[in-house]
Each structure stands twice: as C-alpha cells, then as structure tokens.
Symmetry: D2
C-alpha cells in the first residue's frame, strides 16, 4: 500500500504529544480520499487505504478533525454537471418505456463519493465504533458549521442501514456479563446515574432485569438499554427502587415490571430510532419468561415540567387550576388561594421539607402535571420529550406520582413529580395510530379529569 | 395490525396446493405496500406489516411473484415532480453557500419508496435470506422483463450495504461443523460436485481446509466458500485431490496451499464482490496457522478455453502456433503439420485414451492455452471469467497442466487443461494495480514465452 | 522426562506395520509403571510418564495389550503384609476412641497402586476416552482371563466416579449438531440401525427428538442416547416411525412421546448406570418444552421372548394358554387346538405372510407375551433385559403390539411382537419402590388379565 | 419422595431466623442417611433424597452441622465384622489363583457407606460447591474433633478424584470476564489484597495476565489463580507492580513474566494439589502466546523469615553471619559489630525510614535470608512454606530483594524482604527430582555464596 501521510504506528502515541493539525498534509489527504472514492487498486487496497486514513483521523486534534470533515463534505459531493445531465434525461423519459433506465442513472449520479469513502472505514477493526464516534464529532461541529449537515446526511443514512433493528440482538445483561460491558452501563446511564459497582450490582439483582440492543460486531457496546424492576405493584417512588439496602423481591410473585430508566448509549446514533423496538421486544421477552407479569409500566421523569410550570405561574401561559384547587394550599400557608401563592411556595426550596406544605401541593401540582402532559404541545406532539417517546410508542398516561423523585435533579426538572406510562400489550398498536394520525393521547380517566378534559 | 390479504399460516401449505396468483388481490397489496412506504402506524407496525407481505410473497406462484415485483418496481419509484423541483433548486444553488441544503433535498427526493419497503422485509425472522431469494427471483425475471432492473438496483444497493465485508465473519468449516451447514456445501459446490457425505468428509480431512464467509444473522448459510488442499508441491491434477482413498498428507510438512474450488453460494448476491476479500483473509489465516506454507495457488478450470479453441481452429481467430509446434502431432498421426490435423484429432474423443496422441498434444495445447489466457480479451480484460477473477485479485498465471481434469466436464470446457494461478503475498497489490490500470497480466516467463510474448 | 521404552511419534504408525508385542520390553514397562505408582519426580512428571505409557499401549497389538493389562493387574495390587498389619490394628481398635485412625490406615492400605496409575492416564489429551477404551479391551479379555476382574474393579470404580451423572450434561441432538457427532449416532445405534445420512436426518426432523448424555471433556462423544417420536397416539408399529417418506407430524399437536430407541454408546461404561437418569431428565425437558405432551412411552423390543417361547412350546416350561385360546388358530389351520399346532405354525416362516394365520395368532401370542413379561423371572426380576430396565425405572407395561416389527431381527427376537412401557410421571417413584422391594410389576389391567393374573 | 424432616423451601430463610439444631430430628436424619446408603427406591430417588438432606444441612447452625457430620462419621463407617471376614479370606488366598477375588471382596468391604452418601450430594444443583463447603466446615470442626478425620478422608478422596487436573480447564481471566467471577478474585486474593474494582482492572490490564483453573461444572468459581506482570526485567519491588498509576508496559517488548500472586481459592480443596499443574500450564500458554518471553519468575513473600530471624537473633539458632558482615551496620549506628546491634536496630521500626540504616542492613539481611531459604529446614524440606511450594515445583532461588515489600504485612512477615523463584523450563524436571529425592535446593551461585555454601 502506498504510504499514508501519517505513519500508522502499532502503538498509540503518548498522550502528551500535541495532536497534529491537518493543514500541512491537506493535499495528501485529499489525494488519498480521492483514491478511496475511485477504489484505485481494487477494493481490497481501497479498504486498507481507508483504514489508514481512519487511524490518522483518530490521531488528529479537534481543528484537524474539523478540517478533515470539511474536506470530505465540500470536495466529495456529487458532480453537479453529471447530475444535471442525468436529471434532464430522466425528466424527458417520464412516461416512456425507458423511464426506469434514466431513474437508475439519476440515482447513481446523486450518490456522493464521500458516501463510498465512509463505507470503506468499515474495514477498520472497530469500524462501526469509529463511524459512530465520527458522527458524534460531526454533530458537535455542526453547531458552528451547519454546512457539515450534508456529510451527516450521508453518514446517518449509512448508519441507519447498518443498525437496522433486524440486525440487532436483544440481550439480557446480568451480573454475569463481562465487566468491560457493565463498566459501560455505569458510563452511559443517562437517567439515574449509577454511583458504584455496588449500585450496579443492585440494579442487576434477581428482582431486576436489564436489557440492551447490541450489534453483532460490537458485543461489548450496548446501543440502548433499559433497566427494569419487578414488583408487586406500580412503583410510585424512584428512591426505593434505587436503594441498595431494600429487600429483594420474590420474582415468582411479581406481577408488575417497572421500566425505570432507558438510556441511549451512543451519541453517534442520534436519530436512528431503536427505543420503540427495544420496549416491544423486552415486553415480549418478559411475558415469555415470567408469565405472571400483568402490568408493564415506566416510572418516568418529566424533564421540562418545571420549566413550563415556572413560565405558566408567571402568568404567561394557560393552566387548568381553579380557585378551589388552591384552597388547601392557602390554608396551609395563610396566603391567598391563587397562582402567586403557589409560585411563592415553590420558589422557596424549604417546602419539600415541610410535610403539610408538601401535602397541600399534591393536588394542584398533580392537576398541573396532567394538564402539562395531555395539553401542552409543541407543534402537534406533547412538549415533554419523554412523553413524546412513550406515547408515540403506544403507552398511556397511567398515574402521576407526587414527590417520587426527591433528588436535586428531580426537583430541578419537575419539583419531584414523576409519571407512569403504562404499556397495555393489546392497546399498543391502536394507541400508536391514534397518536400519530389524530394526535390523541391515551390516558386513564383519572388523569383526563385532572387535566380538565 | 390490519389483516393481510392472505392469512399467514403457522404451517407451510402442502406442496400440491396451487399457489395463488396475485391479480385479484392486487388492490389490497398495493394499499399495504403504500402503508409500508409511509410507515403508517409507526415503524414497529410497518415492520409487522412488511413481514406479512413477505410471507404472502413466498406463498405465490411464479406469475404472482412477477406481478408483485412489477408492482413494486413501477408504482413505488420516486416522485418525478418532487424530483424536478428538488433538482431545479439544487442546480440554482450551485456555488452558493447553501448548496449543501439543496444537495440534501435532492438526494432525499430520489430515494424511492420501494427502497424503504425492501428494508422493512428485514423484519422477517429470516429477512436477509428472504431478500437474497427475492433478488434471485428478480434476476431470473429480468431476462424477459428488463425494466425490473430499477427495482434490482434498489435491492442490490441494500444488499451491498448489508453484506459489506466488514460485517462478515470468516470461518473455517470442518467435519465438526453442523450437518445442516455441511449439507449446504454439497448443495452449493459449483466447481467439482460433491458426490456424497464420504466425499465431503474427505474434503474436510486433516490435510484440507475449507473457509467460508458468513453473515452473523445467518450462521448456517455460507455466502462464498473455498476448498483448499495442503500439499508439498503445486498440484497438477484435480482427480488426485478429490480421490477419497488417497493417503492423508502430513499437515506439518505441507508448504503449499492449493485453492481447488471457490463457489459463490448465493445467486441473490450476484455482483456483490466477496471473493477477493475471501482469498486475502484466507491466505492471512493460513499464514498464521501454518507458517511453513510458502506457496498459495489455485488449481483452476478454464471454462471457455474449448469454446475459443474450436472457433480458432476453424480458422476464424488468430492463434500463436507455428509449423514446428505441430511436428510431433504430425508424426504421431501421420497427418500434415497444421491446424486441420489438430482439429481432426480433437474432434475424435478417442485421443484422450491414446497416450502417444495425448502426449503429442501437450505442447501445442499448452501454447494455445497460454495464448488464450494472456492475449484473448473481452473488452480490455481476459475473456476467461475465472482468469478475470484471479488476475483481478492480484495472482499471476503460474503453470498450465495438461490433462489435469479428465472428467466429462473437464473435457467439455477445456479439453482437460487446468491452470494454477499463484498468489504471491508481496506482489498482490502491485499486480492488482497494473491489471486494473494497464490491463497487464502477470505470468511466469515460461508462460509468457508459451503465449508468444 | 525419562525416555519411554517406545518413542512417542507425532504421527500414528501406518496401519500395515505389525503392532509390537510387549514381552521384550516388559521389564522397562514394569519399571515405568512403578515410577507412576510412586509418583517419582512429582505429580507433573508422573502424569507425563503415564501419558507416554498410554500412547505406547495404544500402539500394541492384542497380545501386547493383554500382557500389559495382566502386568497391571498382577503386580500392582495392594501389599498383603501391610494390609494384614493394618487390619490387625483396626480389628483391635474397634470400640476404642481411636478406631477412626485405624479405619483410615486400613483403607489406605487396600488402595491398589494400579488404581493410582489408572488415574494418571487422565493426563492424555483424550484420557477419558482412553480409559473407556481400555476398559472395553479389559471386558473382552476377561472372557478368557477372569482374573483381570480385579483390575476391572479398580477401573470401573474410577469411571463410575468420573461419570457420575452430576457431571453429565443432557443435550438435544439435532440436524444442526456437528457432523462428527452425528456420525457416531450412526455408528452406535444399537436397536434400529441407521441406514444412511438421509435416515438420520429423518430421525432428527421437527417431529422427532434425540437426547444424549455427554461428559464435558468429550463434547463429541455421546455416552447414551434416546430417539423419540412425537405423535398423536401410542405407536404400535416401528416401521412407520422409521419410514423416511412418512409425512412430518405437527409438533404443536402432538400429545405423545414415543421413546423408540435407547442406545448405550460406550462398551467401556458397562455397569455404570446412566439410562434411568437419562429418561427422567428427558421427560422433564419434554414437559417443559412441549407442555401438551401427556403420554411418555417406549416402543420396545422383547429380545428374549422367542427364545423363551420356543422352549416353552417344546413342553419344557409353564405357559398360560387354555384350550379356548387355540380355537381360532385351530380353525385357521385345520389342526388341533393345542401347543403342537402353534409350534408347527410358528416354525414355518410363511405364517407372517398369511393374513388369516397372522390374525389367528394375535390372541395366543399376546397372552404368551404378557405372561412372559409379567411372570417369567430370572432370580426375582423379569427375564427380559429390556423389561428389567424399564420396569426398574418405574414404568408400567402398557400395551402389546402384535407384528409391530416385521424386520428379520424382529422375527428372530420376538416373532414381531413389541411392547409399550409407559412412564406416568406421578407413578414412577412408587413403581420403582414396589418393583425393587416387592418384585411387583406395574401393568394395565388388560395386560394383567392377558397374563392370567 | 418421602417427606424430608425439614421442608425444602424455594426461597432462602430470612437471615435473622435462628438456624435449627439437629438433635430433635436426629432419628429422622439417621434413617434418611441410611436410605441413601442403601439407595432405597433406586438411584434416582436416592439422589433426590440426598439433595433434600443437603439443603437441610445448609439450613443448620454450627452445632447442628457438627452433629450431622459426627453422625455421618460415626455411624456410616464400614462393618467391622464383614471387614474381618473379608480380610481373613483374603489373607488365606494369598498366593493362590483366586487371590484376586478376595482382594476385590476386601476392597468392597472397606468402602464406607458414608462415601456413597457423599457422592449422592453431587445431585444438588451446585453439588460440587456444596461438597467443597462441607469440607471447609469439616476442616474447621476437626481442630476440636480430630475423629472427624475419618469422614474427611472419604470426602477428600472423592474431591481428589473429581478435581483431577485432567478435568480442569485453564482459563485466562480478563476485564471481559463476568463480573460475578471477577468479584470472586477480589474475595479470594490471599497474597496482596485487591483494594477496589479499579485495582482489579489494573491487574487485568494489557501488560498483565491472570489465569485460573476451573471445573466445567463451576464456570464462575476459580479454584486457584495466578496473577502475572509482563515486564522487561526481573521485578524487585511489589509496590510498583500494584501501582494503578504506573504506566502500562508494551507487551510486545516484554521478555519477563513475573508471577506475583498465587491464591488457592477454595479452603475445601486443601491438600488437593493444583498449583504445580497450574504453573506448568500457564508457562506453556505464555510461551505460545508471547514467544519473546524468556524469563518466568515469581516475586514471592517469605512469610516466616521474620519469625525465624527474631528467634535466631535472640541467640537461639544458628546463623551464617561473620563479624565483617556487621561492619557497615556498626558504622551506621555507632554500635558494635554483632548480633545485638542488628537486633536492636530491627526492633525499632524507624530504621526503614532511615536510608543509611536501611542500606547498611541490606548485606547482612540478604545473607540471613539466603541462609534461611537454603538451610533452614523443617524435617527435610525448607521451613518456609512458599519456598517449599516453588522449589518443589522445580524453580530455583534466583534473587533476594531487600525492601521489596514496604507494606505493614511485608514488614511483619519478612522485614520487607522478597524473593524471586525462577522457573527455567528446561531445568524444572531435574530440579523436582533432586529436590524430592535428595533434598537439594536449586539456587544461583550468588545466593549459594550468600548462604555460606
């Protein structure tokens, strides 16, 4: 193979070495990318060359990476002239018997050389991980360099094809799984951080389940994972689920599976939807293994409830409360029955320590939360991202849990409120359709009433 | 899920039942394909629907399948108006800072709905195999229905992406492999048919190797496989390699690996190149396992040598023989030293039983074969398909073996001539480049002289 | 390691080489066995030495093997003087507080050096198989050399410990199992010979099950295996079960599992009981996998029925028939209603082709068979070995099947009669106890009446 | 199955429940043990019964366990009368052709019923672990109840047979091993305690190796394991090996493997020698994987050096020092050149912080250590247990390392001295023999001189 512009060393360079920028070698990289695109020397050689480029990319510092990606985006797009030519021929052929030939030529013409190059990186020993990480870089750079989106489109298309759910395996993760894999759960858990190996072991105990999707080429790299508690009733409190010292439930008697954390592990797969397939298959697997399970439900955060509520209470937004709803609170505080009192109480962090106040808040907060979930929209879908995910997957809003999450994050996001989205296996498909086409949100009648519907 | 137009039964229908044609249900299939393309009811539902359509397709007889594919090809292409619109915007944007946006839109516009539908078939339990078999159908139908090529383009693109060599695993096949897998070798072997389980066991003996590429989702389905004999010299005869009663060589002492059969197992992957990667990785694996191996060579058929030779001797084509080359033959037959004598001898099958005649043919036939391999071209590449494959992979023409294959097939294809293509690991890349760019064929000097070069 | 008396070669010697006898090297072997027994040079060295001896044993011809085993049996027993000494001390200590010490010493004294040597052979790469084969040799030699039994006792004790059922894994064998394993089923099947790979594939079809016990160190070597057909009623005919062209049953609908063949694969494990554990675990596995199965039954041969019957009809033994039982037969043959007529008919092989005769035989033969199974004993157990096995395992005699096996072997053994032993999971333990302690044989009331009980 | 005296519950009893003593049920247990010994109701039933007894044993508190084991030891020994009878017949037969028969009978007679019962516990799902733990109990109880040794003899014989090295698999343990397994390394490490998961990960880094023996039925239960560092010279310091922040060595360049910790994980296997086989196989594996490795050496503690030295310096024991050896120390302390000065310095912990003093101690301490290793014996073997192990395995004393272990444990055991035992693959067997038969200790000439030899 022709020498690369940067020698591939069998050992990683010492961390202290300043990572090189690309500029000086730009001409050489451009040439080699061109050779990749043309598959000069045959496919086998092209892949080896691409692998070398990939190794080199890894050794670059941020500026160098940006230059590299920019080069790929700008100089390896489709040929406009050839495209124009192909389109003209296609447009003319519409309705003729040869239309199909020209459609083929046109599609061939708009495939970008950069797309071919990206494919070749799959030759790296950990090619998939490389491409996922490349995309993570790309997403970061796009904030300041919107025009990289064209490269992202090519890369995302490739990843979407390769991470098609049909290729993924659903695997149960247990304390018998490799430590190198479990370590990644600790790293990737996005909802309720894992504090230690002891905390992790508790989450993999006999009354728990943890499932992840894996790609067969990356057996130690979970793509998305869900943590589940087996209980004998709907959980209303996240702390008790995470308590390492709580007694272990008897799995045989459990009738409820609580999905209390779902984490996408790979930034580079953003937009490649896996979550809905994951839940469907996990529910199927649980039903087979533990036929006594009857209820499948989440215990979910409401990440933007407080943001909305604060704005709402400032008088800027509609809300469903009536004077009566404030009475208890007024009695408890000696204030007036209205929005300002509520706002004042909430602003003072001390309320959560005051059992009477906290209890007085339960009713109005529950109504506000129900209103928020069912009636506050962004375009036609729920404003809350977690609600959007679970309702779009066919669940219904089952129950609101006041002070279910007393962690700092819980208060910061939702004043401690959490919600159960319940999946009724027979209703899932129906719910997906009515949600997708009519924007209808499934909810119990209690929740609907609380939301003023 | 909405009911399919044809109920999915848990058991295959009895073989005697006439398979239905599609026409009557055409309207319903069209609707469901449309739902798939739009992902109506969400991705999960769309996949279930596609799986149903796939099962139904399987139940159709040939006419029905053709109608189905025709429908997919004709009615689920890109929208010409949207395409024209997108192209106009793109063409106008060339050179402006927003070019990238319009490139993205254009590419999005030419993606065909049928391509989305094909992806969804991956939801079938054996989705990949289904799509490979679908393509095999498509290739068969294309002979009479060229316009199906547009669907084939979409399908081949998808398969090329999914069967990227980076996802395939190279595995050694032994007598310890599953019988269900070995059975497929018997079925798929394309070069030297496997006669029985005893023949197969001989080909997997300790002085043999067999490797195949597999996709992780189809662990029992070899995609392409190669059979290898470990010997202590270049093999010049296929019969001795296939003889079940020949003594087993001592692997420790072998210095030569003879690749005597390479079979593509899947018609549906035609055009998805795997062979060159296979040989490269097999050679690497052999070098690691058996460091004493020095020579890597094929023992290959010349499938079109006789066809060319017969035409050539009829006076229609150039050939390299001079009068001297015929002398031995003339002496042996009492005929004149020239083309007609050669032609006459060859036409009479009895020559192969006559040792003197057969020996007299050796020299002229070897010259003709060398000429055929090195100088007879189709466009710029060798006319012989096996030569095209191995020379394109970087091997050189090493040796010609007269009467190396005395089977009926051997005589029918090449009057019994076989050739060794040798892979010299250090020359492979160089050979690929000069073959690809300059059309140069690597050969030993003996062969070059025989070809009159 | 000290040199062995016969060099260990990396390759097996050519089969034509005369295998050496031992005599000349006897002194050297004796010395090395002594070194093994004393573990001279440490355990690691002793094992290497034993492995060398084992390899050498394999290279011997029959006479040499006999000499080797004889040497081991005669010269490596316990020391009589030390034994006498230990026993005297033990006998004196009985009833004193130190009794335990002397029991330990005595037990130590009677352990034979040969037993230690046998253990060391486990160091061979395939040590377990070696020892099983060694025992097979030993069993063969014992016929003429009864005194080898003392070595056999030591070896059997070791094998019994190592093949404890707690170490064995029950595995299902399918068409996906390694060919090298399936090949052994063909070799070992002892009841109904497997004719071809096609026959084997049929026996592993979706309406069949095959299970075997394996030792973890010999994953390709089945120890004992059972073949099962899933049907919708009790099978009364072996030919239909073995017919490759019979339609495949729907597993989902099957309510009956017919165990139609159980084969011990290893002669060297004779007397190490595995069969009863096998059936118990297979039934458990089937119940879990296919909860619709209600009936678990064999379709078994009666290997000594004819032998007994011929003797019985010659007037030498009791039988249960009364004059009435012969009437039909008398009518069909025009002979007298009695034993001589029956004997005469059976002696003429032609009866089986004569439907009227065959039918006339049904009733008396069934009665005789029932009598044979339930009332003909050897000591206190049934005379029939298959009956002994299944009744000892807790089954009951369920049904007799006239002309269920029309093969030559079937007629030779039992005039074509077969029997179903049925395992009722809830009765197994009770049946084992009453069979073991009271010699009671469980049978349906029909069978009991037929046997005249 | 007959009801057990204590119901087997599917869940473990709560830890707070007082565990029952056995006395009250003694009669019932005795009966059931008797049934086990007689295999009442057949082998399958006997095993189920034994499993029940085993579960019950687990539920007992210490007193109950002692009673159980005592019962087994005392009441299930061989029958003295039958033994006497068998021995008399055997003694009489000596020299007759039937000697073998009576040897068989005698051996049968001394097999104890308790031995049969122990075998049956293998039917428990984790039978092997149960028996190992039972033996750990037994070893603990034996301190006060020496007569349990007779039961221990039976149990150890069984475990020795089952844990024969021929059945064990050598496996490399890495960070990819199951967490449930790695957790046990933390628990079992006996030489240099593992502080945390971070410490563990460091010990499994790319410049480390960890191997263990496993029994196939206990894949998560290491029996004995060794930790190895790959370095480019003989390590003289344990702290640097254990430092999590030390740089990772390049494995490719390493020429030395340091075995810095060997831990027997199972108390219940005491006396079942595995260590010597482990080292042999690990060295073979390393040689194959990393052919550049030339030196295989331990870095070992000297656990009883200080105990001996303190006694020696008190004037009670011989030692090798001459006046000259004390000179440096005398100069450094201003004391006299003799034993009392040395004793005084060592008694004051502060010396280790004083570089001059520490250096002055090097020479005399090294001589004392060499003398201790090579010349201080217990019976005919080295007094130091670690020396006994490694020298018995064929290593030689390679080097002494002053202040190689500055941990509290290091000072308490050996004033910080450590030793390298080096394994020269070609000398191992020779060393084992001369050590075993002549009591000769292999050592470098430097060490021999230091020991005054």
């Amino acid at each position: 193979m022709a020498t690369l512009w940067r020698p591939k060393s069998s050992e990683p360079p010492p961390a202290t070495t300043a990572k090189p920028k690309l500029s000086r070698q730009l001409r050489q990289v451009r040439e080699q990318l061109g050779d990749c695109a043309r598959e000069a020397g045959g496919q086998v050689t092209a892949r080896t060359r691409a692998a070398g480029l990939g190794e080199a990319y890894r050794g670059l510092e941020a500026n160098g990476k940006l230059e590299f990606l920019d080069l790929l985006a700008k100089e390896f797009g489709p040929n406009p002239k050839a495209t124009a030519h192909a389109h003209a021929a296609y447009a003319e052929s519409i309705g003729t018997p040869n239309e199909w030939k020209f459609e083929m030529d046109l599609r061939e013409a708009v495939i970008s050389p950069r797309s071919r190059i990206l494919t070749q990186f799959n030759a790296l020993p950990d090619g998939l991980k490389f491409l996922m990480d490349l995309r993570a870089d790309l997403l970061r750079f796009q904030k300041d360099h919107a025009d990289l989106a064209v490269l992202d489109q090519d890369l995302k298309a490739q990843l979407t094809s390769w991470f098609d759910v049909g290729f993924l395996t659903l695997e149960r993760i247990t304390w018998n799984s490799p430590a190198a894999l479990l370590e990644k759960l600790i790293e990737y858990e996005a909802v309720h951080a894992i504090q230690s190996w002891g905390d992790l072991k508790n989450r993999l105990d006999s009354d728990r389940r943890c499932y992840a999707f894996f790609h067969p080429r990356m057996p130690l790299e979970p793509l998305i994972f869900v943590e589940i508690a087996l209980t004998s009733q709907l959980s209303s409190n996240i702390e008790s689920l995470l308590d390492e010292h709580a007694p272990v439930h008897c799995t045989e008697k459990a009738d409820t599976a609580i999905f209390y954390s779902i984490s996408s592990a790979q930034v580079g797969l953003r937009g490649v939807s896996l979550g809905n397939f994951l839940l469907k298959r996990v529910i199927e697997d649980l039903q087979r293994d533990l036929p006594r399970l009857k209820v499948f439900s989440t215990l979910s955060p409401m990440p933007r409830f407080r943001m909305w509520l604060d704005e709402c209470l400032s008088g800027k937004l509609d809300h469903p409360l009536k004077v009566d709803d404030f009475k208890k609170l007024a009695a408890a505080t000696g204030g007036r029955a209205g929005r300002p009192t509520l706002l004042r109480v909430l602003r003072d962090a001390a309320w959560s320590e005051d059992a009477v106040l906290a209890e007085a808040l339960r009713e109005p907060m529950t109504k506000l939360a129900a209103f928020y979930l069912l009636r506050v929209k962004k375009d036609t879908a729920p404003a809350d991202p977690v609600a959007r995910f679970h309702l779009g997957n066919g669940s219904r809003v089952e129950r609101l849990n006041w002070l279910a999450d007393r962690s700092a994050k819980g208060f910061a996001e939702s004043y401690g409120m959490m919600v159960n989205y319940r999946y009724l296996p027979d209703d899932i498909e129906k719910n997906v359709e009515s949600f997708t086409y009519e924007g209808r949100i499934a909810a119990t009648s209690v929740i609907q009433r609380a939301a003023g519907m």
